[in-house]
């Protein structure tokens, strides 16, 4: 245990500049940041599904999924809901403010294993944030994937994250994009209404052995969505979901994100397969 070298401190944040922000919905805003140090900005590498710890010294620190794809290096994007102490403070920041950011942490999606497969992305509510990273990554590397589907559900049109971005995607011919809202209170909603599981009718024929599903949404969504996917006979290990837990460190030490006594969500998650869900208790 004796060593004279001092270890790199994984708990100290890297200064990043808020370069752009705008509202996605009333309480969810888009934040684009870049490491102040250009070299660090360009060398930051991550996987879709990984997360960063975002810090405001004096307020606190919390984990946030990365919403940008690693295939567009230099910038980090987050979709942040104003819901607690740290996010309230983040919402007060103007462009050019400096935040502390450290990471990336977590396992992320096994994108290389997913190469060559069809991909169905099912997102609900805030689940759009991490899955947007995977979706854009797949589109940026379009020749690596088979068919790509996006199923996205929100309560109302005004609550759909990345609404304009996804509405435009409906015009692309390299993916099938289906959007739904529980209730259309505008009378002008151009897509489906109903819960996200209803969009499964739109998928058409799926080649289950050759398809990966990626799911993220509010805790209540998983049960219903997974039931639909299982009906299609997709192998359990090809049903991937990314989960939320309380985290204070992100590096497998503070204990808060532990599931079932031994799974550190920050190390072995936040992306888990349905097989994990079956054999580890307490995941969803």
């Amino acid at each position: 245990m004796k060593a004279s070298t001092q270890l790199k401190n994984p708990y100290t944040p890297e200064p990043m500049r808020l370069i752009r922000r705008y509202p996605l919905t009333d309480d969810v805003h888009f934040f684009q940041v870049r490491a102040v140090n250009m070299e660090k900005a360009l060398s930051l590498n991550y996987l879709p599904g990984q997360f960063m710890m975002v810090s405001l010294c004096g307020i606190g620190e919390a984990p946030f999924s990365i919403s940008s794809p690693p295939s567009r290096p230099g910038l980090l994007e987050f979709g942040i809901r104003r819901v607690g102490r740290v996010t309230n403070a983040i919402f007060k920041l103007k462009e050019n403010s400096i935040l502390g950011v450290r990471g990336p942490y977590g396992n992320g999606f096994p994108v290389e294993e997913m190469y060559g497969h069809d991909l169905v992305i099912v997102m609900g509510g805030l689940g759009a944030v991490p899955l947007r990273s995977l979706l854009l990554y797949a589109l940026d590397n379009r020749d690596q994937f088979g068919k790509i589907y996006l199923l996205h559900g929100a309560k109302r049109p005004a609550e759909m994250l990345f609404l304009q971005e996804f509405l435009h995607m409906r015009n692309r011919d390299d993916l099938k994009c289906f959007l739904t809202v529980d209730q259309d209170d505008t009378g002008e909603w151009p897509c489906d209404t109903g819960v996200v599981t209803r969009l499964f009718q739109r998928l058409g024929e799926i080649d289950p052995e050759n398809t990966y599903f990626a799911v993220c949404g509010p805790p209540v969504m998983y049960k219903f969505v997974v039931a639909e996917i299982l009906k299609l006979n997709v192998p359990k290990h090809q049903i991937l979901m990314t989960l939320e837990r309380r985290m204070k460190c992100g590096v497998g030490k503070c204990g808060h994100c532990v599931i079932g006594g031994y799974i550190y969500t920050c190390l072995e998650g936040p992306v888990f397969s349905y097989w994990d869900v079956i054999h580890m208790k307490g995941l969803i």
Binding site: M1, P10, P15, G58, I59, V251, G260, G261, G282
Partner: protein, 341 residues
């Protein structure tokens, strides 16, 4: 492993001669128990102490410490110069716990706060005779072969001193005039007799083999509800546990200023907010769920990860729990054994 002998009457000479190795810490009597304190006056050392109220972890990761200071948004994580320390009198259970701590804090992202203190901490172990709360024989942590620099086996008029590291060897050399290098067959006989005597003193025996499977099958057991009804969520068991490491992180700012510090402090998986995320969703709202997490972590999780349970049988949680939740009884209940309440 090399072993030497030091006569008991020379203990103070030994302690005097190892002063250059760092501050001496050891058990002293306080109230109805013992605490680990800095020792300047050797007579305060109480070698009859069994478990200190708080384990050694308070020295390696203090209950509350500054991770870094900040001015505005700029963080400064310069480490203070930690003193060299020698902890005297750690018993085998705590030394096992220390090796668990070492492994845990070196895994994945090595923890610099632990590492910086640990590398300046020398460990001198001391043998002991169990009391009614000790069950280290059941956790197989009653004999140690690693994790210490020196280990003192108390054999009536002398200590048989096991040299566990190069640093330990330096300590022995620092007081060579009080060290007897001739360890012979008689000493071995004494040592074996002592071990037999010690092993016969355990009041609790339990079989922990196969616990992971039993825990798995007990996931929906009503036992957790019953224990949850009893538990007060006070977290005392986690505070005194030598292998509990959970922490919380909070920022403190000086009133009206932009300067402050990020503080790390002990947390407990039994506290209500432990698994609560922003927005109020609590992944472990029920006390039974939190208690189950603690026992699963100790008896199942660690076995899967490190091949041994994270319980070292020190008995601290049993002696500390205000409502008498006893890990030995919990294990017996989980195994379907009759338990007299």
């Amino acid at each position: 492993m090399r072993a030497v002998k030091i006569k008991k009457e020379h203990l103070n000479n030994f302690l005097e001669s190892i002063k250059p190795f760092g501050e001496l810490w050891g058990p002293v009597k306080k109230g109805d128990g013992h605490v680990l304190e800095k020792i300047e006056d050797f007579s305060r050392l109480d070698l009859t102490a069994l478990r200190t109220k708080l384990p050694f972890k308070k020295l390696l990761l203090p209950p509350r410490f500054t991770m870094f200071t900040f001015k505005g948004r700029k963080a400064d994580a310069t480490f203070e110069d930690f003193p060299n320390r020698v902890i005297f009198g750690l018993h085998p259970c705590d030394i096992y716990a220390l090796t668990i701590m070492d492994n845990f804090h070196n895994l994945h992202y090595p923890d610099p706060y632990y590492h910086e203190r640990r590398k300046r901490t020398a460990i001198i172990g001391l043998s002991c005779i169990p009391d009614e709360l000790c069950f280290c024989k059941s956790t197989n942590t009653h004999n140690v072969e690693k994790g210490f620099d020196l280990f003192f086996s108390d054999l009536e008029d002398f200590f048989l001193v096991w040299v566990g590291s190069s640093l330990g060897d330096d300590m022995i050399r620092a007081c060579s005039e009080f060290v007897d290098e001739n360890v012979g067959h008689d000493d071995l006989k004494k040592y074996i007799a002592w071990r037999k005597y010690r092993d016969a003193q355990f009041k609790t025996e339990m079989d922990l083999t196969g616990m992971p499977g039993i825990m798995e099958l007990s996931y929906d057991s009503p036992i957790w509800e019953e224990l949850g009804e009893k538990c007060l969520s006070c977290g005392a068991c986690t505070i005194v546990c030598p292998t509990c490491t959970c922490f919380n992180v909070i920022d403190e700012v000086e009133l009206g200023k932009l300067e402050g510090k990020r503080i790390r402090q002990w947390d407990s998986c039994l506290f209500t907010e432990y698994s609560m995320v922003a927005g109020g969703h609590n992944f472990r709202e029920a006390r039974a769920e939190r208690l189950k997490l603690r026992f699963t972590h100790k008896l199942q999780a660690f076995v899967g990860k490190f091949g041994e349970p994270a319980c070292v049988g020190c008995g601290r949680c049993i002696g500390t729990c205000p409502v008498d939740i006893d890990i030995r009884t919990v294990v017996a209940q989980l195994k379907g054994e009759e338990v007299s309440a």
